[in-house]
Symmetry: C2
Subunit: 194 residues, 2 copies
C-alpha cells in the first residue's frame, strides 16, 4: 500500500500521542515510527527532524482549536465553559502546550499572539460599551479565564491533585467556573442575585 498522505497522517497522529505523553526530550522517534507502523526514515523525509515534527503537530492542533469555537466577549462565562469542555475532551493538547511552555527556547508562536491580541481588543471594546465590568484589564481577564477554565486539567500542579473529588463532577465544576468568571467579568446588569 503506497500512500504518502496517509503515511504523513499516521505519523502526525502517532507523534501527537508520543509528544503529549513524553515531551520533546522524552519522545522517541523509533517509538513514533513503530506506532505509526511506518519506517523511521519516512519521518525524516516528511518532517525534517524531531523538533520540526513537534512544531508541526503543535501548530496543527492549535489551528484546530482556534477554528473550534469563537470568542464571545459579551458572554465570558459561556466562553470559559466552552474552553473547559474542549480541554476536558482534549487533555493531550493541554499537555502539548505545557511541554512547549517548559521546553521552549524563547520562541513565540505568532499565530497564538495574534489570536490573543484580537481577543484583548474585543474585551476592551466590550468594556467600553458596558457589556462587561472594567475592574480588571482585558489582558488580566483573559488570562484569568483561561487559567480557571484549564485549572482542573491533570497537567496543572494545583488542579486534580488538590481536588481529587472533582474527577467525576464535571458538570458542577463547569458551573462553578462559569460563576467565577461571571464574578470577575462583572455581571453587566443582573439587578440582583439570589
Amino acid at each position: 500500500m503506497r500512500n504518502a498522505e496517509a503515511t504523513k497522517e499516521k505519523i502526525l497522529e502517532a507523534a501527537m500521542a508520543e509528544f503529549s505523553a513524553y515531551g520533546i526530550a522524552g519522545a522517541r522517534v523509533d517509538r513514533i515510527a513503530k506506532m505509526a507502523k511506518c519506517n523511521k526514515n519516512m519521518i525524516y523525509i516528511y518532517f525534517e527532524n524531531k523538533e520540526q515534527l513537534f512544531s508541526t503537530v503543535l501548530e496543527m492542533h492549535l489551528t484546530r482549536v482556534y477554528e473550534a469555537f469563537d470568542f464571545t466577549p459579551e458572554d465570558l462565562p459561556g466562553y470559559a465553559a466552552r474552553v473547559f469542555d474542549f480541554m476536558m475532551a482534549n487533555p493531550e493538547l493541554m499537555r502539548l502546550m505545557t511541554w512547549f511552555a517548559l521546553e521552549q527556547k524563547t520562541e513565540q508562536l505568532d499565530q497564538r499572539k495574534e489570536a490573543h491580541n484580537r481577543k484583548i481588543a474585543e474585551l476592551a471594546k466590550a468594556q467600553e460599551t458596558g457589556h462587561i465590568g472594567t475592574d480588571f484589564s482585558p489582558a488580566f481577564l483573559l488570562t484569568s479565564i483561561m487559567v480557571l477554565a484549564t485549572a482542573w486539567m491533570p497537567t496543572n500542579p494545583f488542579g486534580p491533585s488538590i481536588d481529587p473529588a472533582s474527577a467525576g463532577k464535571t458538570d458542577e465544576l463547569r458551573e462553578a467556573i462559569m460563576r467565577a468568571v461571571g464574578r470577575l467579568a462583572g455581571e453587566p446588569a443582573p439587578k440582583e442575585n439570589r
Copy 2:
C-alpha cells in the same frame, strides 16, 4: 578538601538548576556533576539514581515552601499575594512542579496531599463561621487561588504569553490578583454590584 555534606549540598543545588531547566528526561547527569564541580560518581553514591535525585530535590523544596508562609483562611487575598510573591521569587520551583505533574507516573506526594487537606478543612471552617463566602466549595476556592496566584509564571501557557506587558508591573498584577481572589472568596452577602 573532604566534606561529604558540602558535596551533597552542591549536588542538590546543581540538580535543582538542571531539573528545573530541562525536566527529568532532558536533564543530564554529567551536566549536574560539572555544575556541582564534583565527580558524577558521587551523585550515584549519595542519591541512588537520576529519578531519586529528582524526587529528593522536589521534596526538599516543597518542604521549604510549606514552612515559608502560612495559610490564612480569613485573609485569602493576602495569602494569594504571598503565594504570588514567593513564586515570582522562585520561578524554578514552579517549573519543577510542572515538570513533575507532566512526567509523573501516577505517584502522589503524601506531603502535599496532607497540606492541601488541612487547608481545605480550614476553609470549610472559615465558611461556617462566616469569615468567607459560601458560593464556592473549599476545594474550588483553593485551586482557584493557587491558579490565579501562579498564572503569570513563565510556565503557564496562558500567562506572560497572553500578557507580555505584565512583565514589569508586578505590583499592579499582585493587586489585581488580590482583588480577584476577594471577589471569589469574599463578600458573604453581595447584595448588588456597580
